[in-house]
């Protein structure tokens, strides 16, 4: 009895009494999305295959409209529940009552949980009834339904807890709702801004495609901030594996503990402040300052095609706006000129950082010395660059010819001496393997001149260059499973014989290396109209689909004619 009164108490009941309407909204929203949709499909579609496809889509891919409605409702639940703690008068009222902070938090959390668990559970039961009553069990597995509703519940809890965390931090509803919507984008915004800033300051710095990685369902961040991944259908409900569930539960635990700790540490006398915690207010101020400093400086430099001085000046302006606006918002007063001490600290760090950035201490701007280089990998094709980074992990072939390396070093020197324009119309990726074992990776993007093309023409004659830039050299011969040959005005030819496949691959490699192959990799250069056909070589079957590489067939080619005769 004492357990019951000490855990679930009148706050829980009172919150449910006040906010049950939001629960009803959840119920209607989910009902419209799944049970009603199922009933409509069952009444309209008669073809079994089409029904299977419709239901698979329904449970796997959610409309943006539905995702945003779920997000907004979850933020709303958090907001309504925590409002009692945010408002100064209500804050005084609730904390004067005989409840501990822990007790209030637990009750608020459970009230929120019930508000979305009940509608989800009711809809689950309705879906189950439809599943058995209308013969849907012959179209799809039952586990898909259970999986869908469990995932929906977990994601609702995450959005709700995110809203709780923000609500505990702030006392302002407008800040609460805007941050609730923004929080899922913040890591990606910050990483993007930071990437573009680093690209401006360290010209040639090669960064991983961190934003794509962050939204991929392989990344924990994608679960910590699930909105973007859900919108991108990276989090596919029916295919959520064990790791996905672990990540979701871990995310819930993190947010729960964070909100609990913040709630119990929250000082009621600060309930009038925009940000209730001083340390968080300070952190937010400097985060905004950094974000605007990096964002404004890189954007202005890209637009103005400027140099490091442009970065410096616009960085100062961006930082000022970031710092001043944060300070004014926190103090709720625009006359905060006397509180700019922090800005001066930021400016000092900014100056020191930019000065150091232009030396060779933290980033090597100039090419390495010829004698230090063991080999080089170079490509001007984004697909090849991507494959090297993510498919093959590391370049398998390197240029070792001293003369070619010399040309590559001169090419890099030339590119860095050009005025930057950040247009990204050309790009070149260079990886130096040094004799001391270190690697230097550089990716230059911009609009290069004719001298660059001259360098590239010479470099592309190197055997190593070809091995890097034609994927046929980067795939194990044993992996090739099938060859398709398409000759104009003739039927397509499929080759499955291993010896014949080997013959095709070897001949193609020979042609490429001996420069008798007139056209480049089809993906690299579009020469299809001058060719007499194309070859597709299939490999890497994963049980569902093949990967393939494609090449155009030179008009002078003879061995293919022999092969298909």
């Amino acid at each position: 009895m004492s357990m019951r009164t000490s855990t679930i108490n009148s706050i829980f009941k009172n919150d449910l009494k006040r906010f049950w309407v939001v629960g009803l909204m959840y119920l209607i929203l989910i009902f419209l999305n799944i049970p009603l949709n199922m009933l409509i499909s069952l009444s309209k579609v008669t073809d079994k295959e089409e029904l299977i496809f419709t239901f698979t889509q329904m449970f796997n891919y959610q409309s943006d409209y539905f995702i945003f409605c779920i997000l907004i409702l979850s933020i709303l639940v958090g907001m309504l529940l925590i409002r009692e703690v945010q408002g100064y008068r209500s804050n005084i009222h609730i904390f004067s009552l005989p409840f501990s902070k822990k007790n209030i938090f637990i009750n608020k959390f459970f009230a929120g949980f019930v508000l979305f668990f009940t509608p989800i559970f009711v809809n689950f039961l309705i879906t189950e009834v439809i599943y058995f009553a209308f013969g849907v069990n012959e179209l799809m597995k039952k586990s898909i339904i259970l999986n869908y509703y469990i995932m929906l519940l977990l994601i609702c809890i995450i959005f709700f807890l995110q809203s709780l965390v923000i609500g505990i931090i702030t006392s302002n509803s407008l800040f609460h709702i805007s941050s609730g919507l923004l929080i899922n984008f913040i890591p990606f915004i910050f990483i993007s801004v930071l990437n573009s800033f680093l690209n401006v300051v360290f010209y040639g710095l090669h960064l991983e495609d961190s934003v794509t990685l962050l939204t991929s369902n392989k990344s924990f961040i994608a679960y910590l901030f699930p909105l973007l991944s859900w919108l991108n259908s990276e989090i596919v409900f029916s295919k959520a594996g064990f790791t996905g569930y672990i990540y979701l539960i871990l995310t819930i635990l993190i947010y729960f503990l964070l909100s609990y700790v913040l709630f119990t540490k929250r000082k009621n006398e600060k309930a009038r402040n925009l940000i209730v915690f001083d340390s968080i207010a300070e952190a937010l101020k400097y985060f905004n300052t950094a974000l605007l400093m990096f964002g404004v400086s890189s954007l202005a430099t890209m637009i103005a095609k400027g140099d490091i001085f442009t970065v410096f000046m616009w960085g100062l302006i961006g930082a000022f706006f970031g710092y001043y606006l944060s300070e004014a918002l926190l103090k709720r007063n625009f006359k905060v000129y006397r509180n700019l001490k922090g800005y001066l600290i930021v400016v000092s760090i900014w100056c020191i950082f930019l000065l150091i950035s232009q030396t060779e201490i933290i980033f090597r701007h100039s090419p390495p010395k010829l004698d230090d280089v063991e080999s080089v990998c170079i490509s001007n094709n984004k697909k090849i660059i991507y494959d090297m980074e993510y498919e093959f992990k590391a370049p398998r072939f390197h240029i070792t010819n001293k003369e070619t390396i010399k040309k590559i070093l001169s090419l890099q020197q030339h590119i860095t001496s050009l005025k930057r324009d950040y247009s990204k119309s050309d790009n070149i990726y260079i990886v130096y393997k040094l004799k001391n074992g270190r690697e230097i990776k550089r990716l230059y993007e911009g609009s290069f001149d004719s001298k660059y093309n001259e360098y590239m023409k010479l470099i592309s004659l190197d055997e190593g260059y070809k091995k890097i830039n034609y994927n046929i050299f980067n795939i194990d011969d044993k992996e090739f499973d099938k060859v398709m040959i398409f000759i104009k005005d003739k039927n397509e030819v499929e080759i499955n014989d291993k010896d014949k496949i080997k013959f095709v691959v070897n001949n193609l490699k020979r042609d490429i290396l001996s420069n008798s192959y007139q056209y480049k990799d089809e993906i690299i250069f579009d020469g299809i109209e001058k060719s007499k056909g194309s070859i597709e070589i299939y490999y890497g079957y994963d049980g569902q689909k093949y990967k393939y590489i494609a090449y155009v067939i030179d008009t002078n080619n003879k061995w293919i004619d022999e092969l298909i005769k």
Binding site: S10, K13, R89, S96, P98, S100, K267, E269, D278
Partner: protein
Amino acid sequence: MLRVNGLYKKYDDFEAIKNVSLYIPRGVVYGLIGSNGAGKTTLLKTVTGIFEKDRGTVTLNEKEIYENVEAKKKIFFIADNPYFYPGYTVKDMANFYKTVYETWDEVKYERLRGIFKIDENKKVRNMSKGMQKQVAIWLGLSTNTDVLILDEPLDGLDAVIRQRVKKLIFHEVIDRQLTVLISSHNLRELEDFCDYVAILHSGEVILEKEVEKLKSSIFKVEVAFNDGMPEELMKRIKLIKAVQKGRMWVLVVEGERIEIEKTIQSYNPILFDIVSLTLEEIFMYEMEGIGYEYENINY
């Protein structure tokens, strides 16, 4: 009963409460007087367990109040601007408190409904400020807690209601030994109501007295002598203040009334009158005695 010892509370760099110590026995009305910003509300909210103290102790029956559910069950706090849930009627609020406070007294609630004459089905937020305060007091008394803490409860109430509220609280104190801690910026308001009074100034208690003792121990004497004020008399009485107006002296004297009369009469004054002081006058003189200008403190 309720004890505050060496309490210290800071807002950033501002010291709101500085080393405050109070003892409030069971069944008394304890008045806390101070101007706006003196620290009354902070002190009350810290005592209630809403604000966490920085230093010192706040105990009810020797048990810390902050985050102590059992202690807080015995306290009901009425803020200067009480909060009611949006859309809630008096009845809804009563139902809520009924589930919160085990001591809730339904009979008392019904009895007070007849006294306050407020429609319990009316939404509280649609009521005037004065009516909202009455509702808060009605609900607060119905919770039947041991301690009632009120922050400026009489502000915004008309004279009739004010007397009614005082009377109701007074009856609770008499009937069931309710302990009341009440704040006001006006000493006159609490004069006929409090057993103890403390004056809070800039976060410090500068004076704390038991009202009845104080009233029966300080008197104003108007006296005149043919040959001027005898120096010996000045030494024999406990003088707080002496002002000469021509031949007449106005003295503020501490002590037993009969003793004072006897002593002064023995010097054959040509004019002699002794009167009791109002609480405000007593405090004025007491505070002047310890170096404060009363006008600077009281509003």
